[in-house]
Symmetry: C2
Subunit: 518 residues, 2 copies
């Protein structure tokens, strides 16, 4: 057995069974080990942003870490943007980054770089393996780090000699790493929160993390039923369960003025897995925090604590445990609209057609803003958003989600600008036969930036500024791009053709792309 | 005037007149400034690796820095791989990376990250601007850093408030930054080298950096004519001038055994802008250094020193200044071969058709290995290689080269695997109407890795390993990809159709892609 085999065996023993990969020379022994060891599903991405985004999506659905296999500093660098999103989503990932053999690093060969330095800004844990014999312990520590609640980015650097050198066949297994338990919320804070909820003051339960899943939403809805409080979900949410049968908790809006208006009524804002709301960006003369100046912010439970248990404790104290949750919706499918393409109509088509138990990955940027209000009574679905704002999140995340849940349909809502950052995702969808429908909102512009331009006080874009903001010259042909990577596709130019194309994609058992021309 | 305008004006005053861009909200004031200030050519890339690779290519041809405009930590992260290549090529680049407004950073908004930490591994100089009034001095310092010989990566972080806050209209210009002169080689080392060259011992002049341009090669050829020494070029070379009229200096081969065989004859290896040759990767039981163990390595001039002056000093001491350079070639165009596609035949077609004074960017990986021997008597051309080994270098670098030299044809030799890392480049080529022909070597595999697999002692890939190494399921349609991004394209399946397609591309005055199916 060599170090690479030890790594694959240890990962499997730790129940890390998927490896999203873009290997190079220094990773060849890991790749070779796959031929000798059963059980690791390796998924190739043609660009590392696909690889790391897929690992993020896998965690969000499976709640178990996948591994990635990346080639030296530059390969890791290409994956950083989606690791940034994953870190902000609190996803657990075990990155395996190849490094030159230990003695080769000092020679400063062309691909030499400071891998730990590249890793650190987007990792919670970084370790460079020192010997093949040390691989097992390092791999277990990496999984331990990745699974520490709420989930962390662990980056393990594997020098090539530590992969190819032997490990004694009788090296004992040190046993699986521990799965840490989420600590409970502070009892005094729970008591204080119960007091606030009983006070009659306008109080908001602001949910984040796993509190945004069905059970957490339901428990919050029970508390709302008894106390009259409101329930909302933070804007950058890793996964919120929505649709029929779930408590419909609005997300805080993206636009700061709208967010501040939404938060304005509240005297108390109780954070349960969320953070004190701030705007994505700063704007001249506007506050970055969105809560009213006088509001009391109660940091009841951070995202790594026991969020469902915290909500249960509140419900128990308030006698709400057996109540029917306030705001739980029933299925009410929208009618399919006809006519010219509008964002409202587009949202209606999507809401009408979301399949039961689908996974919806949203990177529609401006295009999807109408959607939230329309999908509350759609079929139940998981809704995943970009928690870190790094573009190129949607399609890679969908790949990981589809690998984690092969029996569920994945629907990606993708801006045309954002689609292009990790367009290589389509090839992996085709190769793995993933059941993903990609809906591209083709407005031929960085539309959000045209809005932000005014938002930051820069006025109206002139010709040279618009040259940086428009994507219409030439227009991108997403149907052609998809087909060139093996994904069937169709174009929609009005709401009728959109409904037909989307239904076709959702009915197929494999990847399909719909280009909605706005 | 605000800080963004101050930045654009200062860059222009420093003769930085091109900005490769992928902006976001925090960069909108820079974009807005473009409408009010003439003279900055802004080129949009749909992915940041396109942006940074283009800045690298621009420097290699123009020998002046371009700027980049990148969005926060994740945008910079997406550009790191090509910054790695640029750093190893000693290209000068001024990166402008937007940051949240100073007060917003502490709020840990979703896009917040350690930008300086992201920048540092692939930058030689990093600075965060503290106020709009400080923009001018910081920008001048960045250009100073970028132009310090041999050329450096300077990363300037621009918080949004420093862009939007005002600068007094009467802020005085502090005057252009200094252009540092390349220091000469050590006189004693020159004398010692002259002694070695006169000794009759087998001596190699190993050239790197700007010594690989026509004048340096010619001077080395004169020294060879007088002393009988040999002249070679390092493998990872930023730009070597080749073809008719130039001294034909072989590059050290990629494969370590071949490199060691090429260096074996030499008792003395004189480094002029190059470094002691090492293999790209380590292999079990093989040395990383490629020079014979007993060879004397003479570090005559490093890449930032006056390389042409050093060669002139040697030539003067040896009475070689007026000699005809040994190894200077005359034009001898190869005949166009016919028949099935072979790498040798493909190289012959390329060598036969390279236009006069073309810029050839090589990321053909395994496909182009036959080329070096075939192009010595082709039309004179510049040959650019990936100095850092980070994949996705070819097409972005070609964009920058084409912007720097609009009157020259740019030919990209691109592997199919490597093309996919920065495939978005094609759109920028179309939008800017760049005179670039892209030749994709479509072998439907990471062919180099299939070789490296054996090279590192892993044997022959089995089915699961090959699933990570083959790109044939599904096959990528590069003609379709190009057309979908506005670039005309054609496919070649034998040498005859290759010659026709390549000639068509080279004859067009705009971008064209040829997919050569191997």
């Amino acid at each position: 057995m060599n170090g690479a085999e030890s790594l694959v065996r240890t990962l499997l023993d730790e129940q890390v069974e998927v490896c999203f990969s873009n290997p190079g020379t220094s990773e060849m022994h890991f790749v070779a080990a796959l031929d000798r060891i059963e059980g690791m599903r390796c998924v190739l991405g043609l660009f590392e942003g696909v690889v790391t985004g897929a690992a993020d999506g896998y965690w969000r659905i499976a709640q178990r870490p996948a591994s990635t296999l990346l080639h030296l500093g530059p390969g890791l660098a290409n994956g950083l943007a989606n690791l940034h999103n994953a870190k902000k989503a609190h996803s657990g990932i075990v990155n395996v980054v190849g490094e030159h053999a230990t003695a080769h690093v000092a020679l400063d060969a062309p691909l030499t770089s400071d891998i730990e330095g590249v890793a650190r800004p987007m990792s919670n844990w970084v370790h460079t393996i020192g010997s093949s014999v040390g691989v097992q312990a390092a791999a277990r520590a990496a999984v331990q780090a990745a699974t520490t609640p709420p989930g962390r980015i662990a980056t393990l650097v594997l020098p090539a000699d530590c992969a190819w050198n032997t490990v004694p066949a009788d090296q004992p297994s040190t046993g699986r790493s521990t799965r840490l338990v989420r600590p409970p919320a502070d009892a005094a804070l729970i008591d204080a929160t119960v007091g606030l909820l009983r006070s009659g003051e306008a109080t908001l339960l602001l949910l984040g993390g796993v509190a945004c899943r069905e059970a957490g939403l339901a428990m919050a809805g029970r508390i709302a039923e008894v106390t009259g409080c409101q329930v909302m979900v933070e804007f950058p949410v890793a996964l919120v369960q929505r649709g029929a049968g779930r408590v419909n908790a609005a997300r805080i809006p993206y636009v700061p003025e709208a967010a501040m208006a939404a938060l304005k009524p509240y005297r108390n804002i109780v954070l349960i897995g969320s953070t004190d709301p701030v705007s994505f960006f700063a704007y001249p003369g506007k506050p970055g925090r969105q809560a009213p100046a006088g509001a009391r912010i109660v940091p009841l439970a951070d995202v790594g604590q026991d969020l469902l248990g915290t909500l249960e404790a509140l419900a128990d104290a308030l006698g709400a445990r057996d109540k029917t949750p306030k705001g739980r919706t029933a299925l009410s499918r929208l009618a399919l609209p006809e006519g010219p393409m509008t964002l409202e109509g587009l949202g209606q088509v999507v809401a009408a057609l979301i399949p039961e138990n689908a996974i919806v990955v949203d990177e529609s940027v401006t295009g999807g803003r109408a959607l939230g209000a329309l999908t509350a009574t759609a079929a139940p679905h998981d809704f995943l958003t970009s928690t870190g704002g790094a573009i190129g999140f949607g399609m890679p995340t969908a790949i990981g989600a589809a690998i984690a849940a092969p029996d569920r349909k994945v629907l990606v809502l993708e801006g045309d600008g954002s689609a292009m950052y990790t367009i290589q995702s389509l090839w992996t969808m085709a190769r793995e036969g993933l059941d993903i429908t990609v809906l591209v909102f083709a407005n031929r512009a960085y539309r959000i930036l045209q809005g932000e331009f005014a938002g930051v006080g820069a006025g109206t874009p002139g010709p040279r500024a618009n040259h940086m903001l428009m994507l219409d010259n030439p227009s991108l042909d997403f149907v052609g791009l998809a087909r060139s990577m093996g994904v069937e596709a169709g174009r929609a130019t009005d709401l009728g053709s959109l409904a037909r194309e989307l239904a076709r994609g959702l009915a197929s058992k494999g990847p399909y792309l719909v280009e909605a021309v706005l």
